[in-house]
Amino acid sequence: MSIYQVGLLVQVCINILLGMSVYVALSTRQLNLGAAGFMAVGAYTAALASLAGIPISASLFLGMLATMVVGLLIGLPALRVSGIYLAMATFAFGLVVESIFLVLPFAGQARGLAGIPPVEPIVVFAWTAIALGGVFLLTRSQFWLRVRSIHDDEFAASMSGLNVTTVKISMFGLSGALAGLAGGVYAHWFVYVEPSAFSVEVSIFAALYVIFGGSRSFWGPVVGATILTLLPEYARGLDAWRPAFIGVVLLVMLILRPSGLIGRGTSLRSLLARRVRRSS
């Protein structure tokens, strides 16, 4: 495997984490369109920590922690709004974060932060595996039943004694943590951060990974992020028309199969089993 392909894999990991961030929030019907903002918090925190001499893994952890706190703080007022309004509020939040980093004196402002110590790919893969493993176990746990019931009918869930508030806020915190890890990895892989790297585009694509891959299954964001990261690489021959190509693929996807590639309650085993059965 060439170092280029390894680099692509790192990119895929970052995007999977971003997609997963949107996924966990979306599982409680909270559309987080501010993933880039959380990512920025994680990236800058981790970068500043590393530049101050803290070892990379510890910096990544600090980044996650900081972003989780921000997520929890955002989660509280987020309870007041729902649906598209929450989406717009998180969208505004993303913009606010980008502006904050443009004015913070110690974060390099428009000049950005350079010279961040680079991270080994294996560290990235390890962290991604741990994070994904954690989320996977979460989706197989009792707690996830609460999440699903809130998704299916929040009112009924609250009537049956579920503490909806706690669940929704913690999902926002988790959403933040995952995006924060993505940011930390980004900072240490590309060794340079500037505010414009955390643009609206990043947030929108994070949501796209989930919708494209399947918003009702853990594997959805994984598949979605992988395909949407690798597809532009294979479409290089189209160079100047790549964005339009992506747009068309997305449109087709959204119209033909809006639930995403992976349906609800699909485990990897059943997916493979179905394939085998069909071919035999």
Binding site: P77, I100, Q109, A110, I211, A240, A244, L251
Partner: protein, 292 residues
């Protein structure tokens, strides 16, 4: 100087109001945040510029820009929106995003990503009114916004089409069951919002003498912000909030610098969304939660 800033801000807000109206129509009636609106806006400006360079009289240029805006919005409706599950906010949103991606790519290939300069026009030249000066285009912007809203308000409240729009806004499924011409209402909504966006694009380009692809995101955010501040389902809210937002932007940049100004505006927007999502003139909050 301050007075001139205020005038500039209010009149910039006229253009924001038009864009906010475009967003507001889609949001208020169909519940969809149409993120292809900025690209439709840009197309209106760019096509208008081509027409101007072709010596076409101004009235037809304005009509042309509005027409291209309407056509593009119509295509979006027919190719994308029509087929998706209207109650799924994420999918409808991303459908408009995907369409916007395609439009942006086309614009970049056809016109390039450079700033395009508008020929010097009499419409943009300054008219001195005492201590301040304005241009005909600026006045046209705010005038058009007021006229269009009045027209829209009349349509919505008094015509059959307006009735079907209001019915769809309230409860689409019920409207279908009642046999109302829901498809026609949806198509009309997109068409009108596209016309507004296209026209606004031309006016902006004329006013500042330049149009650039990177205006898209700024216009999009400002339009959405004005829509929210004014109240999503209130058309007059856009006319009020647009100028206020324009004022805040211009004054903020002048006194705080460009970076702090962004922080201020976006921060206010985020707070407003949480504290009073129905905006300044919107209806009571329970309506907001039930709508989506």
């Amino acid at each position: 100087m301050l007075l001139q800033l205020i005038v500039n801000g209010l009149l910039l807000g006229g253009i924001y109001a038009l864009v906010a109206l475009a967003f507001s129509l889609n949001m208020g009636i169909l519940g969809v945040l149409n993120l292809a609106t900025p690209q439709i806006f840009l197309f209106g400006a760019l096509v208008g510029l081509d027409l101007l360079n072709g010596q076409v009289p101004f009235v037809f240029v304005l009509l042309g820009s509005m027409a291209i805006g309407g056509v593009l919005a119509l295509i979006l409706e027919l190719v994308g929106y029509r087929f998706v599950d209207k109650s799924d906010i994420v999918v409808t949103l991303l459908t408009t995003v995907a369409f916007g991606l395609v439009l942006e790519n086309i614009a970049e290939r056809v016109w390039g990503s450079q700033a395009q300069f508008f020929p010097k026009s009499d419409l943009a030249s300054r008219i001195d009114l005492g201590p301040v000066n304005v241009s005909a285009v600026q006045l046209l912007g705010i005038g058009l916004a007021i006229v269009l809203v009045a027209g829209l308000a009349a349509t919505v409240n008094r015509t059959a089409l307006g009735r079907s729009l209001r019915a769809v806004a309230q409860n689409r499924d019920a409207a279908v069951i009642l046999g109302l011409r829901v498809r026609r209402a949806e198509v009309a909504t997109f068409l009108i919002s596209g016309v507004l966006a296209g026209g606004a694009g031309l006016l902006l380009g004329l006013n500042y003498g330049v149009i650039s692809l990177d205006f898209g995101i700024t216009i999009g955010i400002s339009g959405i912000a004005a829509m929210i501040l004014g109240g999503v389902d209130n058309l007059w809210g856009a006319v009020v909030a647009g100028p206020l937002l324009g004022l805040a932007t211009v004054l903020g940049t002048s006194y705080l610098g460009a970076n702090y100004n962004n922080l201020l505006v976006f921060g206010l927007l985020a707070v407003a969304l949480v504290v009073r999502p129905q905006g300044l003139l919107g209806k009571t909050s329970h309506h907001v939660y039930r709508r989506v």
